[in-house]
């Protein structure tokens, strides 16, 4: 046999086709089994401990396995779950009436004893729960009868029921162990592979007849934003969370898909108030007036957001005030005047901390840096990885910091962790800063039960915050879920509650 050009080519082509065959023989599509929803998760839950806050991805899964006394519905209103009703008694204590038909996944009924045990464990001395401090202000949990619990608090607490709408305050069985919490939610874990996927099956004794509607949920982790989006477009999954901003229009324009986006989380500037120049509220106000927010919305969020020129209060709520919402409008002349008044007419140098790990933090920081330069504040960007950013932030090793946040609820009390300056140092709030009037107003609002008076108090809080600047709002950003058009009943919850939207998977079905 002689090797000719032709025979060599033929041999190569045969070999090439042979190896490619197994890859091309099937139209490759991840299979959808009937009634099972495939959900593209942005991260694998670090763990699923019911009371420990380990992020929104964990929250989404936990919301399906567990239930608390109350929950938010898709409109953002509190509704009863394990509790059928709740009210304040004449001594200012909260009384919750429990439903009789709720059972845990091990078949035991949900009783007042389990509720008392869960609440006491969350607030316990050895607790690592997210709501630990708040629950420690519950001085006593009384069982009035097997279906009624009474929570006595150290101070009057108007917002206590909202605590149970959080995804870190579930009621679990007293028989639970740390490694095996026993919940009473609509689904239970069927199987999982650490880091990759989690499969849930419906709990047949769930207390709402006919729910959940799905035959199962399969959470698949796609850590990369673009791949998650590609998985939705190619039909590998039915729903994805955190649609990247640059891809939102593509999802909207795809006839097979739909987008549900709300403005909930926000970007802001934090200050190191423990030393000059940012210990002076005038300098902080100058920063708040110096930045043209539209540019952040365009640069960091591809227009998928809106400027935030005040304290982050959600529009349409009773606490919102149009004028106060623009109290830190873009006004470079005023910013310069404020700097001059504070004795910095020629500006100064500062360090600005953000992180390069998340594009939105870095992009926002770059825009802010430009605008501060325009009023004479020359800032040097520091963009370490996220763990270092957390570490430096908590120790106050910065002058200015850029951060992205989401409140615990749409109630202004949900902003407490971020603007109450009496709380210990934390990377989520300004360092060593004092805003006593804002803090005092937050305290009053928490203790007031009358809605009209609360609204007034929170407007006063906003006025105080506009002057004291415990942080400066920059931009609301959209949080979007992308889904197949056949997915019905899944809703993105309004405002700060967007992270709780996973709860609506209980009502989701394929149309």
């Amino acid at each position: 046999m002689t090797t000719t050009r032709r025979s060599f080519l033929q041999a190569s082509m045969f070999l090439g086709a042979g190896t490619a065959l197994p890859f091309l023989s099937l139209p490759a599509r991840a299979q959808r089994s009937a009634g099972v929803l495939r959900y593209g998760l942005s991260a694998f839950p670090p763990n699923l401990q019911p009371w420990v806050s380990t992020g929104a991805a964990s929250g989404t899964v936990k919301l399906l396995i567990h239930r608390s006394l109350v929950a938010y519905d898709s409109k953002g209103e509190l509704r009863g779950e394990l509790a059928t009703s709740w009210s304040i008694d004449d001594q200012g204590a909260w009384v919750f009436k429990l439903r009789k038909d709720a059972v845990f996944h091990n078949g035991d009924p949900v009783t007042a004893d389990d509720v008392k045990w869960s609440i006491e464990e969350i607030g316990g001395e050895k607790s690592t729960a997210y709501m630990r401090t708040q629950f420690q202000s519950i001085s006593k949990v009384e069982i009035l009868d097997p279906q009624t619990v009474r929570l006595v608090t150290k101070e009057p607490l108007a917002t206590l029921p909202t605590w149970f709408g959080n995804y870190n305050t579930f009621i679990i069985s007293r028989k639970s162990t740390t490694s095996e919490p026993i919940g009473c939610g609509p689904f239970r874990i069927a199987a999982q592979e650490r880091g990759s996927w989690i499969e849930l099956t419906p709990f047949d004794k769930f207390y709402k007849p006919g729910f959940p509607k799905l035959k199962g949920v399969r959470f698949i982790v796609y850590a990369d934003d673009n791949l998650r989006q590609a998985a939705l477009v190619s039909g590998d999954v039915d729903v994805i969370e955190y649609v990247p901003w640059q891809s939102m229009s593509a999802v909207e324009n795809d006839p097979r898909l739909k987008l549900d986006a709300v403005e909930g989380p926000f970007m802001c500037v934090l200050f190191n108030g423990s030393k000059p120049p940012f210990n002076d509220p005038r300098v902080r106000r100058a920063v708040a007036h110096a930045v043209k927010r539209d540019d952040i919305v365009k640069a960091a969020f591809f227009g998928r957001g809106k400027p935030l020129e005040g304290v982050p209060i959600v529009a349409g709520t009773p606490w919102y005030d149009e004028k106060l919402a623009h109290g830190w409008n873009y006004d470079p002349a005023r910013a310069k005047a404020l700097l001059a008044e504070a004795g910095f007419a020629n500006g100064f140098q500062a360090t600005m901390l953000a992180t390069a790990q998340y594009g939105m933090h870095k992009d926002t920081a770059e825009v802010v840096q430009q605008y501060l330069g325009a009023i004479g504040i020359q800032s040097e960007l520091r963009l370490p990885d996220w763990p270092t950013r957390v570490n430096l932030g908590g120790r106050g090793q910065y002058d200015l910091a850029i951060h992205g946040l989401s409140a615990d609820s749409n109630d202004p009390d949900g902003l407490t962790p971020y603007i109450d300056t009496s709380l210990p140092p934390n990377y989520v709030r300004s360092f060593g800063l004092s805003a006593p009037r804002t803090t005092a107003a937050l305290d009053r609002g928490r203790a007031e039960f009358d809605l009209a008076r609360r609204a007034e108090i929170y407007k006063e809080m906003q006025r105080a915050a506009l002057e004291e600047v415990p942080m400066a709002g920059l931009a609301w950003r959209q949080q979007g879920y992308g889904m197949d058009r056949s997915v019905q009943g899944f809703a993105n919850m309004p405002g700060a509650l967007t992270g709780l939207s996973g709860a609506t998977l209980e009502e989701t079905w394929f149309g």
Partner: protein, 317 residues
């Protein structure tokens, strides 16, 4: 020989200890507290008392030397400890994921050999021809384009536009072999593309080299068929340097899988490593890094032994 071998193994163990110590210490020096990071996921405010409690539970409050000694103690028993995040045994995680990473590297290398060696040989045989020029240009291009660009383009075209393939993921071979191979294809191509270019160049160069050798001229002169000359004398001799390069590059691919696994959602060893670094999950980071460096050391040891077997000067000198 036995004494020499014993010495080599001892050196490898010593090196593994050095790696473990450096990684352990470096991690503790780098800023970031695992307890605080875990409790403040998604930017929430962690309660300092809860953080302190968690640090205590995880044993992070103990002196660093104490932690190091118990880590070494575990290591001698073959126990890499448990994840700080969810208490999952590090060993189990590695046992599950290492085979997948190795499979990816193997598939990438296979593609590189299947494409690179014939193409390189053909290009050498027709040196300066159209194919040679096009293929050499393509090889340069393949080496120049970063792996994440190729990965993203493959996903965009094959998964999003043509909808021919899933965007990424993993199905166990036993569960669905066809789907498994389908999902393996894209990441294997992405990881193998650089190696393909290297193997192509190497094959082309060594075939050219072999073609100019006297024994090839002799083989031709004595009237052997060209196909026989090519297979018996040229390619066979040209394969040795190609295999050396392949062996070296497979080790490098181990590090190169990080991006590919991320882009294609291939659940190999890189995902837990990335997650662990972000969460400062010390035992997991140390475990994975130790496994990767252990593999490197093992490959080196095998190479040393092979060379020694081939060349007595190495073991005596």
């Amino acid at each position: 020989m036995t004494r020499w071998l014993f010495g080599r193994v001892l050196i490898s163990i010593g090196l593994a200890w050095v790696v473990a110590t450096i990684v352990f210490m470096a991690l503790h020096v780098v800023p970031g507290d695992p307890a605080e990071l875990l409790l403040s996921s998604n930017g929430v405010a962690a309660d300092p008392a809860a953080v302190a409690e968690l640090r205590d539970k995880l044993g992070l409050a103990r002196p660093i030397l104490d932690q190091y000694l118990s880590f070494l103690g575990g290591l001698t028993r073959g126990d890499l400890g448990n994840s700080l995040v969810d208490d999952y045994p590090v060993m189990s995680e590695i046992a599950l994921r290492l085979p997948r990473t190795l499979e990816l590297i193997f598939a990438g290398s296979l593609i590189a050999c299947i494409v690179g060696i014939p193409a390189g040989t053909y290009a050498a045989l027709h040196r300066g021809g159209t194919f040679d020029r096009i293929a050499s240009g393509a090889a340069a291009l393949l080496l120049a384009i970063p792996v994440f660009v190729v990965g993203t383009l493959l996903v965009l075209v094959l998964a999003e536009m043509l909808r021919l393939m899933p965007a990424g993921g993993y199905v166990p071979l036993a569960q669905n072999p066809a789907q498994h191979l389908m999902l393996l294809a894209l990441p294997a191509i992405a990881i193998g593309k650089g190696l393909t270019a290297i193997i192509f160049r190497m094959s082309r160069a060594s075939v050219l080299d072999a073609l100019s050798k006297d024994f090839v001229r002799t083989a031709r002169a004595k009237g052997l068929a060209p196909a026989r000359v090519l297979s018996r004398h040229v390619v066979r001799n040209a394969l040795t340097p190609i295999l050396t390069v392949l062996g070296l590059q497979m080790g490098t691919l181990l590090g190169g899988t990080v991006l590919v696994e991320y882009v294609f959602n291939w659940p190999g060893l890189s995902t837990p490593l990335l997650r662990a670094v972000e969460a400062r999950d010390y035992p997991m980071v140390v475990g994975v890094v130790l496994t990767i460096s252990g593999l490197f050391l093992f490959i080196n040891l095998v190479m040393d032994i092979l060379y020694a077997a081939l060349d007595p000067r190495i073991r005596t000198g």
